[in-house]
């Protein structure tokens, strides 16, 4: 099966609509960022405290919010988490508005306390099984089991507790609503079940994870991620300049920059957060876009060796056509993987896969419609004076060399 055989589309002739589309997207992204007062950062880059909480039923956002507001100092936001098999989860966050790390840590503890007070039974003297740690549950069960005449060594108790908690965590996403849901756990018999029900209760929520990012680390992480990416781009520019010509390096790097900018703009337009995993995705997309551009550049370089008389534009067009089949295959296949990740990957991977979905589309067309035109524009501009007089000293550029060689050959 072959999709594209000896195609001859005039890609570079159609560059303007795409360049304009790119500009529109970039401007729209920027406008959105400015209008929304900056990017929406994830917890890694923003100062604040947050926790992900799963509820046994659709979370009562307003009730959570009002309970938090009455107890926690500062602003509190409650947001539903959606996508990829996620149900009844919210993210409760508080931001650091000029407050130090100490206040944030305190806020987080307050949030935990409020949750227990509102959705648990703190006065019952029982342990909340849904939010119990291994150690807490072991300590809670040890004496009652001994009293009930269930002889158990410390190691056996450890195994039992590990089994119960692992059942809750892996089979029930960390939250059970009925003790019967753990009745099939190995080692759980009627006596143990009895002790569990005596000593524990089931709250309606489970804290899945918590983060606290102080102002210092937030700024540090942001700065380091940006710096590392810029250095990486510079490194790639140097290598491509060494292998091709400096203008090819510049074109490739500008194309990557363009992809990253547009993707970040789309994040702002779609109100998505830039988190550490999104940075990983942006790096992936830089790598992907660079790969795509180099494949085309490589073909242009190869074609230049043999076609001396054609204009650079037609050489480029031929290179794009020759690599069209591979571009469609590779982009298409990568796109498939990423779409799968976007649909089934869940909320943790959602930002990551969204960045790649955007990045692959933008990264594929930028190789043809951004990187190549830059090289073309430069050569059209730089080679012009040479055409007026053959005596012009040779430039070190590859294109100029091939042009000169071909004229000497023709003269022989």
């Amino acid at each position: 099966m072959e999709l594209f055989k000896n195609t001859n589309y005039d890609f570079l002739g159609k560059k303007w609509p795409f360049i304009i589309a790119s500009l529109v997207l970039t401007v729209a992204g920027f406008t959105s960022i400015v209008a929304k007062g900056g990017l929406k950062y994830g917890i890694d880059f923003k100062e604040g405290a947050l926790m992900q909480v799963k509820f046994a039923y659709p979370p009562p956002d307003d009730k959570i919010r009002s309970a938090m507001l009455s107890q926690v100092k500062g602003e509190v936001s409650v947001q539903d988490l959606k996508g990829g098999g996620v149900q009844n989860e919210v993210e409760i966050a508080t931001e650091a508005k000029g407050e130090g790390e100490g206040q944030l840590a305190a806020n987080r503890q307050d949030m935990e306390r409020v949750l227990t007070a509102t959705f648990g039974k703190p006065g019952s003297g029982k342990l909340d099984l849904n939010n119990a740690s291994h150690e807490a549950l072991e300590n809670r069960l040890r004496d009652p089991l001994a009293r009930a005449g269930i002889a158990m060594s410390d190691d056996q108790l450890k195994v039992l507790v590990a089994n119960i908690l692992s059942e809750i965590n892996t089979k029930h996403s960390g939250l059970i609503t009925d003790f019967n849901q753990i009745s099939s756990v190995p080692g759980v018999n009627a006596g143990i079940m009895n002790a569990l029900q005596q000593e524990c209760y089931l709250s309606d929520f489970r804290i899945l994870g918590a983060q606290m990012v102080g102002p210092k680390v937030g700024a540090q992480l942001r700065q380091k991620a940006v710096l590392a990416t810029l250095y990486a781009l510079a490194g790639m520019l140097a290598y491509i300049a060494f292998r091709f010509e400096w203008i090819y390096g510049l074109g490739a790097v500008i194309a990557c920059f363009h992809d990253t900018l547009i993707t970040i703009g789309l994040f702002s337009l779609f109100n998505r957060e830039i988190s550490m995993t999104v940075i990983a995705a942006l790096l992936t997309l830089v790598g992907y876009s660079m790969n795509d551009t180099i494949v085309i550049f490589d073909r242009i370089r190869e074609n230049l060796k043999f076609s001396h008389r054609d204009s650079l534009e037609s050489v480029m067009n031929r290179a794009v056509n020759q690599t069209l089949s591979r571009t469609v295959m590779t982009s298409g296949l990568t796109f498939l993987t990423v779409i799968a990740l976007f649909i089934w990957g869940g909320p943790v991977l959602s930002g990551f896969s969204f960045a790649l979905v955007c990045g692959i589309i933008v990264g594929t067309y930028s190789s043809v419609f951004v990187a190549s035109p830059i090289v073309l524009f430069w050569h059209n501009y730089a080679d012009k004076p040479k055409r007026s007089g053959p005596a012009t000293p040779a430039s070190s550029s590859l294109r100029a060399e091939t042009v000169r060689k071909s004229t000497t050959k023709a003269g022989k």
Binding site: M1, E101, A210, G214, V217, L221, Y231, A280, T284
Partner: protein
């Protein structure tokens, strides 16, 4: 590329075997296989669940503490030399940056005595620089190199102390390490895999004073062989203000020794300033320690009243040393007559570990609950498999028999990548998986590049063998360029990035190296193998 086919096949088979061994070892059963797999492919905290903390060491505490001690020493010395002063103060320091500006101000030294005063400072306080403010007032500031040493030492000691404490939590694979740039950030990264109660961990890490020095009951200062033995000798009742504690066994010692000690400690960890091993005049090992001014006063009062009594050094309700008080000890003392250098070093470590040299402040905390990690893994695997199935089926449909080649290369690439993670003892994290995805994308790309090139050559009318040759030859430099460019960028990401970005760079680099091997070397060998039988092959399934 021209090595003969058998050699190439051997290289490939050996690589596969080494990789598979790296991932699953020699399993004897299915349970074995699972156990080896989870042991070799370690998951990062974001997938497995656990806590990740960044703490800032408040180095200014240590600098101010040192300045306070200096003031006390200096005052004593000035008294002896009969030099008078009006006041001596240390400036306040609240944040880490203040550490550079801690200054001791000494006022009211008589002009006539300024020569003697300067002499004392320059001979006995060499780590301080003296500045003259007026004819009678001076300021002392730690010299920059000594200040840098002091900060580094403070961070190192904090790391030691925290490691000790975390070991007591019994968390497997926990780590405490310097974070950020050493010498300017003063940050510590603490990783606690699988800790499901981060609040407790945090509390434990942040709390001081698990070290106590307390008196051994005078009436019963001999060791008991067991708890029962002690109770029998005491007539079944423990004295009201005493507690019975076991001593840490010495190397080679059978059974535990128990001592009856006072409940109320003489001093605690927060009074301990420093401790170090050393040798006395007759080259016997000892541990010398210094106490805070407060602690020194308390200790002095107690030891003056209890000469010839015994003292116990207790760390976390375990006695690490019992010593006899020879004389009144104030702010610095020695525990003498230790058996070996090791014993002296250990004891000084225990004495130090009881107290943090400076406060720690949490800057960052990320706790992933075990169920969140499990959900992430599950969703990651489902979507990963869906993506992979799609890729494989398209490759097989589009490139037919040659597609099998590509799929084999792809699978082998993943196997090598996992094996490398296992051999390097790296952990697989979410950003690392991003690296794996890009690797797979580039692996598919390499194969597509080669196949498209072969097709082109076939269309141009070349024979099958020549087309395969030309296809690999021409795609080679493209593959080198794309891969080297990406490896170059990974090198920069690794050098300048932090945590997750680094994980991404490492996995990607390994994956790319593996890819050059699988997509070019292995795939070529399979092609050659297919072609070797029939030189004049007319068609190629591509």
């Amino acid at each position: 590329m021209r090595t003969n086919l058998t050699t190439r096949t051997v290289i490939i088979v050996v690589t596969i075997l080494v990789c598979i061994f790296g991932i699953i070892g020699f399993p004897k059963s299915v349970a074995d296989l699972k156990a080896n797999l989870t042991e070799n492919i370690r998951l990062g905290l974001d997938l497995k669940g656990g806590s990740h903390l960044v703490m800032e060491v408040q180095v200014q505490d240590a600098v101010v503490g040192d300045a306070r001690q200096t003031i006390e020493r200096l005052q004593e010395q000035l008294k002896k030399q009969k030099i008078n002063w009006a006041s001596m103060d240390v400036s306040d320091a609240h944040v880490v940056a203040d550490a550079d500006n801690v200054v001791v101000t000494i006022k009211g030294i008589a002009a006539a005595q300024s020569g003697d005063f300067r002499n004392i400072i320059s001979t006995d306080y060499a780590t301080y620089a003296l500045t003259t403010l007026t004819a009678t007032d001076y300021s002392l500031k730690t010299k920059p190199t000594d200040l840098a040493d002091m900060k580094r030492e403070t961070v190192a000691r904090t790391i030691d102390t925290l490691s000790n404490r975390i070991n007591q939590l019994g968390v497997a694979e926990s780590s405490v390490q310097q974070y950020g740039s050493s010498g300017s950030d003063f940050q510590i990264l603490i990783q606690l895999p699988g800790v499901d109660d981060p609040a407790r961990a945090r509390q434990f890490i942040g709390t001081t004073a698990v070290l106590e020095i307390t008196g051994v009951d005078k009436a019963h200062d001999q060791a008991f062989s067991s708890r029962e033995d002690a109770l029998a000798k005491l007539g079944g009742i423990l004295p009201l203000n005493d507690k019975l504690l076991p001593a840490k066994p010495r190397p080679g010692q059978q059974g535990l020794e128990w001592y009856l000690v006072n409940k109320l400690p003489v001093i605690t960890g927060k009074d301990m300033r420093n401790a170090r091993p050393g040798q006395d005049d007759v080259r016997k090992w000892q541990t010398s320690f210094t106490l805070s001014p407060d602690g020194g006063t308390k200790f002095g009062r107690y030891t003056a009243e209890h000469v010839q009594d015994k003292l116990a050094v207790i760390l976390d309700d375990q006695i690490v040393s019992v010593a006899t008080i020879n004389e009144k000890i104030e702010d610095s003392g020695r525990i003498m007559g230790l058996g070996s250098e090791e014993e002296a070093t250990d004891l000084s470590r225990y004495l130090r570990s009881g107290s943090l040299p400076a406060g720690v402040r949490p800057l960052y905390e990320n706790s992933v609950g075990p169920s969140l990690g499990a959900d992430s893994i599950h969703q990651g695997i489902v979507s990963g498999i869906a993506g992979l199935v799609a890729v494989i089926s398209v490759m097989l449909v589009y490139y037919k028999r040659s597609g099998v080649n590509a799929v084999l290369a792809l699978v082998l690439n993943t196997v090598i990548l996992l094996a490398a993670i296992s051999y390097f003892h790296a952990a697989l994290t979410l950003p690392g998986i991003a690296g794996v995805i890009l690797t797979i994308g580039m692996a598919v790309d390499s194969n597509v590049l080669i196949f498209e090139r072969i097709r082109e050559e076939l269309r141009a009318g070349k024979s099958v063998v020549a087309a395969v040759d030309a296809g690999f030859g021409k795609a080679w430099w493209t593959i080198v360029d794309t891969h080297v460019t990406t490896v170059v960028s990974c090198a920069f990401l690794f050098l300048f990035g932090e945590g997750p970005v680094r994980g991404f760079a490492v996995t990607l680099t390994i994956g790319l190296i593996a890819n050059v091997f699988t997509a070019v070397f292995v795939s070529r060998t399979i092609f050659d193998y297919e072609l070797s039988g029939h030189r004049r092959l007319e068609t190629l399934s591509i």
